[in-house]
Symmetry: C2
Subunit: 440 residues, 2 copies
């Protein structure tokens, strides 16, 4: 953690994993950054999103899409929430998906008895452990919590299915109480213990500390659940994995209580930057867009304009200095490759911040011929109009073509075989006009 | 950093700052979590957002609103980007705002000469230091970079205005090169050095390490700039402050190149959770919503449904177990108080996940009288209809009123003065019907 420590790490990194300085930190010997699993909770946490009402058909469609994507677990609303919730849980268990099916219940035998009859592969038990929740929610003390937990856990285990025990509002719970109960449930053989930032306010280094501490107390896997009220849900998930957590709760677009939890797509962006091979070997990330569209339609929201990966401009480069470098090598300003997600890059050249390199590439695309000096000259004309009003591609093309005509050169220079020359420099721009039209 | 270290910290926290376990970590003795400043870049980074075209009038309106909000600095597009950019820069400098006005230029004397004539309070200089940018952007080596930097810095300083030197793509730059150049520019007296995660892929602990290391090398302030491609821009900003950075670059809604940078609103959410007194003493956070609406309209985007603070459901509570506790004490499931932002909480009770406590509060609001047992009974009826289709408030109210009529009690029980009894338990629900109508 010292400056020297950092230097050493940095030097190791530059020798050993020069390709990816964003990969797992070699100092994190318990890290699961390259070995994590996803508990997908769109059909549980996501159902707690204000706009969510999922019919049985929609639930099944989402469950199948998540399974196809490759999530490790699918978590469903408690079967005691309502009669149809129970029936839907049974129906999804019967689909025969590759993903394991979980349901989420209160730490209570009444709930557990119903849950184990639905056919799920595992039960996620949760109970509030913070003073807030102990006082204002269930009103129980830690002894009572431990007794209920033991009873529920042993019952679920006796049915031969997986069991997770999670505290709720873990970061406002007493640390000693937390470690005590986690050790207790670990000893009686839970598959996972869960840490939950229920109010969405943990910060990354706090998460790392708690996970590392817990890792020294239990042998089972650690699962983490982060709300996004203060915008840290993706970063907290990443830092939890660095500290040794193995499973992260996500939902499509992060939908859940309030403004939701760690979003599946955003976490994929983060994890691909850290360990692209692992992510691509497990998850069909090129289906992120379809999955997000499916859920967005079901809950009647728009994909946020600034969404990681699928926001309309996530791979749009605008300033002249950025465009120039991207044209030379996309890695200069991209840590993610749009093609991994079935998307394309776009160079936004129709604006006053544009530069002559971007305009030159457009000139090439139009199959015109201008010298560098001429490209600089026409760029100044474009910037001048861009100062007056918002430009579109037609504006720029008109200026370029007029400029070119004035030079009295032929509009399309035929190649030796008589066909127009195919532009070869800028693949990204080839599909961009279409995309541009859609997004403006 | 050990488990024991964490325990000690945790115990200290519980004695000293029991009110706020999310506050600054006492182990971070260089932390500026409670002493940070904002460099607001909607009019620079934000102008690089795909949809942005700001007229002079819009720029002035945004600048005034940012100044009123209380940002410390306002950063403007380079005056060499276009002639109107230069004129707009001059116009904003003449407004006499409290915030200091900066402009952002390449590390080049041609740019610097123009910048210092605009009337700005300071100049932010940036140059790419990563191998990627050195190879594919400007093509210069570190010696050349250092020489240019010295020339530009001394020139700007000679004009008596502030100067910041930032590397670009800092996290993919050679650490030794970086520290060398930062030390050089610090010695000749820059006001700030900047770290920029230009490709948006740094992770929080990496940020902390780099800031801490840099802090041991320079005496000047450290500014940080984080892109959000992998969803960590808010968390990275927070961690940078923990490590000793003092200034964070933000833009309204995070607009900028690609999917943008640390959003002003999201960072306010994060910082209020850590040090509410400091944030409220400096910034008019109740104006966040107006500010976001102003910019969203100017760039023609919608506020993301899941935006921190201002997302339509950021303070909506739905699951029965959440609603029950929120009714008893909002701190159970809220780390942020909606009233700080001029907003109200909403309890979403018209759905199958509802619980009898939420329904009971609605019964009270309707000024009806039901026993707890009756509330539980009517809740079952509501959940049953909620299983069949999406409910609205009218559905729930009808079920409650029908149930109540069947009990043959009067619909509204008059109080002693003859007026209907005013509900007093649930302030949040009073304005909620309106909000509900708007958002569905």
């Amino acid at each position: 953690m010292s400056a020297n420590g950092f230097k050493e790490v940095s030097e190791n990194l530059s020798h050993k994993v020069q390709q990816n300085p964003y990969g797992p930190n070699p100092a994190d010997f318990l890290s699961n950054v390259g070995n994590f699993q996803l508990i997908e909770s769109t059909l549980r946490e996501g159902e707690q999103f204000a706009n969510a009402f999922f019919s049985t058909e929609t639930k099944i469609e989402i469950a199948k899409a998540l399974d196809d994507f490759g999530v490790d677990y699918i978590e469903l609303t408690s079967p005691v929430a309502s009669e149809q919730s129970r029936l839907d849980c049974e129906a999804i268990c019967k689909l025969g998906l590759k993903a394991k099916i979980l349901t989420h219940i209160r730490c209570h035998m009444d709930d557990a008895r119903v849950a184990v009859e639905t056919g799920v592969d595992g039960v996620d038990v949760v109970i509030g452990t913070s003073q807030f929740l102990r006082q204002y929610s269930h009103g129980k003390d830690m002894n009572y919590i431990a007794q209920s937990a033991i009873e529920v856990i042993e019952f679920v285990k006796s049915k031969g299915i997986e069991i997770r025990f999670s505290s709720e509002d873990s970061f406002r719970s007493d640390l000693v109480d937390l470690l005590n109960i986690y050790r207790t449930v670990d000893k009686i053989g839970v598959n996972r213990v869960g840490i939950a930032d229920t109010v969405g306010c943990a910060n990354p280094r706090q998460v790392y500390e708690l996970v590392r501490t817990l890792k020294s107390v239990v042998n089972c896997d650690i699962e983490c659940h982060f709300h996004n009220d203060t915008g840290c849900a993706i970063a907290n998930a990443y830092t939890a994995l660095e500290g040794g957590a193995k499973l992260i709760d996500v939902s499509v677009l992060g939908i859940g209580e309030r403004n939701g939890i760690t979003p599946l797509g955003g976490l994929m962006a983060r994890m691909i930057a850290a360990d692209r091979d692992y992510v691509l070997s497990k998850y069909k990330v090129h289906k992120i867009r379809d999955l997000e569209n499916l859920v967005a339609e079901a809950v009647q929201v728009n994909i946020p304009f600034n969404n990681p990966i699928t926001g309309f401009c996530a791979f749009t480069h605008k300033a002249g200095i950025h465009a120039k470098a991207i044209l030379a090598n996309p890695s200069t300003y991209e840590i993610l490759s749009p093609s991994d997600f079935g998307l394309t890059r776009y160079i936004h050249f129709a604006n006053r911040l544009t530069g002559w390199n971007a305009i030159k590439s457009r000139v090439d695309q139009l199959n015109l011929h201008l010298t560098d000096a001429q490209c600089k000259e026409v760029t100044e004309k474009i910037k001048k109009l861009g100062d007056v009003r918002q430009l579109n591609i037609d504006d720029v093309d008109s200026i370029i073509k007029d400029f070119h005509s004035d030079l009295s050169t032929p509009l399309v220079k035929p190649t030796s075989n008589g066909l127009p020359k195919v532009p070869h420099v800028l693949e990204g721009l080839e599909e961009s006009d279409e995309k541009r039209t859609k997004t403006e």
